[in-house]
């Protein structure tokens, strides 16, 4: 049994198809990611999982229950961190957690001890009596995640958990999410940060325009599509002849190459160093020449011909 099973899941609204018959499974105790640019259909998909948006067609089972038939039961066992923080600004920090606990019918004493524990875990214990508006962006995010854990959920859904946070705040959130995973909580997150996806996800799907393009472990996806390394080439005069020359002279060393805008991406078969060497022998001037480890972004680029931020 899996935590989430989607089969031919489709969502249409206002006459447009946001999710196009996708299939995926989230296993228990894993961190599963939806990686894709804005507008890929990630949020629409998670909205259906936590029973906010009705499913147009297809099958969607969460924690073994049909989202159409058992929304309240499903929601009682989920934690949801929406894209936009929607903490209650009329309530103070601790009250936010206690009032939320009421919606799950958690007895007051349990709610209180659990809320204090969560504030501790998220480094917010000294803010318990403060107004929500007084918190920094990172603190608000942590409080929103803490709130999602008030009911001890089996599955936590995080929609863009660190979008808009500064790097320090982001790493703090990642740290806490990793600890949650170690405790055996199933995590499902959407992101357009490849770093977030590779840092946190055991498995992920790459989504674009309502479709799932690929699925797998981050490392495997990179190895399968790209290899170990990437050589990024910027040609000063981006002429077809120059590109052709590069490809001709290095082709035997490459699995593949990709032209994106002003950049040429070379995916070496083995050592990137050898490709670099071959390039430096060419009678061309490069604006930049970079040998770097392959990432999920390269996978996305290869699959869509566009960058993730596009």
């Amino acid at each position: 049994m899996d935590a989430v099973v989607a089969e031919k899941l489709t969502k249409e609204y206002n006459g447009k198809v946001a999710v196009r018959g996708i299939y995926f499974r989230v296993h228990y105790r894993e961190c599963f990611g939806f990686l894709g640019p804005n507008g890929a259909g990630k949020t629409t998909t998670v909205n259906m999982i936590y029973c906010l948006s009705p499913v147009t067609s297809g099958k969607l089972t969460v924690l073994g229950m049909d989202v159409r038939k058992h929304p309240r039961e499903i929601k009682s066992r989920l934690g949801v961190v929406p894209q936009e923080n929607n903490l209650d600004p009329d309530l103070k920090v601790l009250q936010n957690l206690l009032v939320y606990a009421n919606y799950f019918r958690i007895p007051p004493a349990t709610a209180r001890s659990r809320a204090l524990e969560l504030l501790e875990f998220f480094d917010l214990a000294d803010r318990a009596g403060e107004k929500v508006d007084r918190l920094s962006g990172g603190m608000k995010r942590r409080l929103t995640i803490a709130r999602a854990l008030i009911n001890n959920p089996e599955l936590v859904i995080l929609d863009e958990p660190t979008t808009g946070l500064d790097p320090q705040a982001r790493h703090l959130v990642w740290q806490r999410l990793r600890r949650l995973k170690e405790r055996g909580v199933t995590l499902l997150l959407t992101t357009h940060y490849l770093e977030e996806a590779s840092q946190l996800c055991d498995r992920l799907v790459i989504m674009d325009r309502g479709e799932i393009l690929e699925e797998g472990k981050p490392g495997e996806l990179v190895a399968r599509h790209i290899g170990q390394e990437v050589v990024e080439v910027g040609l000063e005069q981006m002429e077809e002849a120059a590109t052709a020359l590069v490809v001709e002279r290095t082709g035997h060393l490459l699995r593949e190459h990709l032209e994106v805008g002003d950049n040429l991406f070379l995916f070496p078969r083995e050592k990137g160093q050898a490709v670099l060497q071959a390039l430096q022998d060419l009678p061309l001037r490069f604006s930049h020449l970079l040998l770097r480890p392959a990432t999920l972004e390269d996978v996305f680029l290869k699959l869509t011909g566009r960058g993730l931020q596009a």
Binding site: R72, P82, D90, Y100
Partner: protein, 256 residues
């Protein structure tokens, strides 16, 4: 039309509103209390000095019960337009709630009940004020709070319908200047409608506030007659009929 999906969790949502209310009730109440008091002084005492009598009553006695009804109406309509809209649109409180076992219908019903609560509370406070001023002359006045509850329920539903139809801040001004103010002026709060042209009297019958004023004034003055059941029934039936519409209109703003 979908059957309402309402559960006892409505109480937990309502409780949230009451917790927030309990934190600033003094400011809240003082503000709403001040305005009717101004009307009582300016019109009841000031203008009243020039009015011989109104349907056989000193003007102050005539006016005061009407203000109980209109204060209740305004308390509810402000809450369920501006208040509801801020929670729904700016604070995204509804979204946070529906991610828990709470359903969107639970959230909407709790809003309506909170509006009802405000009607009963603010109306009753003004009732107590006019009691202290010696303007309540019958124990029938004890039935005013239940009347305010039905009235509040109806006004909450009407406000939610407006909020659902034109969900933006500017349009609430139209609601108050085009709908609430005429209701306030032509529902028998300040003068009997018998002096108006027939057409205005018929129109007034359509005003919910007219029926609330009839009920409250008769109870406060002890002029109880079977016709009041008609007013009560009119309010109850309209509330029952419009309730599903308010659910439907707000639902579609949240569930997409």
């Amino acid at each position: 039309m979908r059957f309402p999906d309402v559960s006892p969790l409505v109480w937990q949502v309502l409780r949230r509103h009451l917790i927030v209310f309990s934190r600033n009730w003094v400011t809240n109440l003082t503000f709403n209390f001040f305005e009717p008091l101004l009307y009582i002084t300016a019109l009841g005492v000031g203008l009243g000095a020039y009015v011989q009598d109104m349907e056989g009553l000193p003007y102050l006695h005539y006016l005061a019960p009407g203000l109980v009804a209109s204060s209740a109406m305004f308390a509810t309509t402000y809450e369920c337009t501006y208040g509801t809209f801020v929670r729904m649109e700016f604070q995204k409180t509804f979204h946070a709630m529906v991610a828990t076992p709470v359903s969107i219908d639970d959230v909407i019903v709790a809003e309506i009940l909170y509006g009802t609560f405000k009607s009963v509370l603010y109306g009753t406070v003004i009732l107590l004020v006019i009691l202290v001023l010696g303007l309540v002359t019958s124990p029938w006045a004890l039935l005013v709070p239940p009347v305010l509850a039905v009235a509040g329920f109806l006004f909450a539903i009407l406000s939610m319908i407006w909020t659902g139809l034109v969900p933006n801040m500017e349009n609430f001004n139209y609601f108050f200047s085009l709908i609430m103010t005429p209701l306030f002026l032509f529902s028998g709060v300040f003068f009997p409608l018998s002096g108006l042209p027939k057409i205005m009297q018929d129109l007034a019958w359509l005003s919910p506030l007219y029926h609330v004023v009839n009920l409250v004034r008769s109870l406060v003055l002890g002029q109880v007659h079977p016709g009041l059941l008609g007013d009560f029934l009119w309010l109850s039936v309209l509330a029952a009929v419009l309730f599903p519409l308010s659910l439907k209109l707000i639902r579609r703003l949240i569930i997409k």
